[in-house]
Amino acid sequence: MPEILDQARTQVLGDGVGLDQAGVLAVLTLPDEHLTAALQLAHEVRMRWCGPEVEVEGIVSLKTGGCPEDCHFCSQSGLFTSPVRSVWLDIPSLVEAAKQTAATGASEFCIVAAVRGPDDRLMKQMREGVAAIRAEVDIQVAASLGMLSQEQVDDLVEMGVHRYNHNLETCRSYFPNVVTTHSWEERWETLRMVRESGMEVCCGGILGLGETVEQRAEFAAQLAELDPHEVPLNFLNPRPGTPLGDRPVVEGKDALRAIAAFRLAMPRTILRYAGGREITLGDLGTRDGLLGGINAVIVGNYLTTLGRPATDDLKLLDELKMPVKALSATL
């Protein structure tokens, strides 16, 4: 057994203290023959510190495309020659999307907008949309609207948004290679305000942007320092027309190593499968990740791409004897 896994068994599983950056790097560079052991340990950690339940979430894009930012992975940037056109979702369709999500048994519904930060029109749409959902659908509402002012943070709290997603996307040292129109520190400032407001912090990123394995470890350590309630883990799905459109997808074993490593860095967080798992891991890898530290999934479609049918994921959770976290358990 590699020394790092022995250390993790004592420190993370036993004491609930996550691995530091060096420890995460050691897990990320484990030889293939030790991957199964790493995943098994990460699963034990998840079961001990989080329990068997899986949090299920659906997401929808309220405002698609036309974003002024240049996140190099994103097909919704207006600065690239992506085929994604700008579209707004009307309130009745938003409520219908929340109903579709609730019908899967999900406890979370996240409303997302492709913006630098919300303007008055978007905040008005949010206010009306969240109110309409809360009136008709039994589900927790989360939001992801880019960088916020303190006033906007306060407004979202007042609307009843209980969790806010704002991904750091990648580690601090690599961020300027991925985004040039705003800084990692600006994102951190929004996260600070969200935390202080009492909303739950949801912050993760995307693996496979061209970062080194050392930078992947740096990212895990920086997320652990932030200590978010939830970490959505995406794997790059290269989008036509974006600067990263020709990058290779993350190799399946590297993705699984990352899942185990991020779990061992953050034993108590909600670690969510997000975009890209279908092309990176496929069905078998999805199962391996759920048995290797993942305890939350986005079901159904993503913002501009499609996911596995929700029924496939729910059937898998049933097979794995992993109960879906009930809405009542989140309130």
Partner: protein
Amino acid sequence: MTDAGDPTDEDRTTRSAVLTSAATWCDRCGADATAGPHPGCAAARVLEPPRYCGHCRRRMKVQVLPVGWAAVCVEHGERRG
């Protein structure tokens, strides 16, 4: 679905249109689809909605929902999947 808020009359009109003729353009990359198959695009389309109208090559307004998607061509109407 609109790029300016609530649905416009134009949206409502195009939603009622029906597609009848064979596609000429690849609905993923917008290239000529009559010269031969696009196996890469066909594979990718399993996990992507269409982006181009197969009849006129216009980029469509596409809304992905938790279950399904809707794509609107201003000339040829709406497709759902």
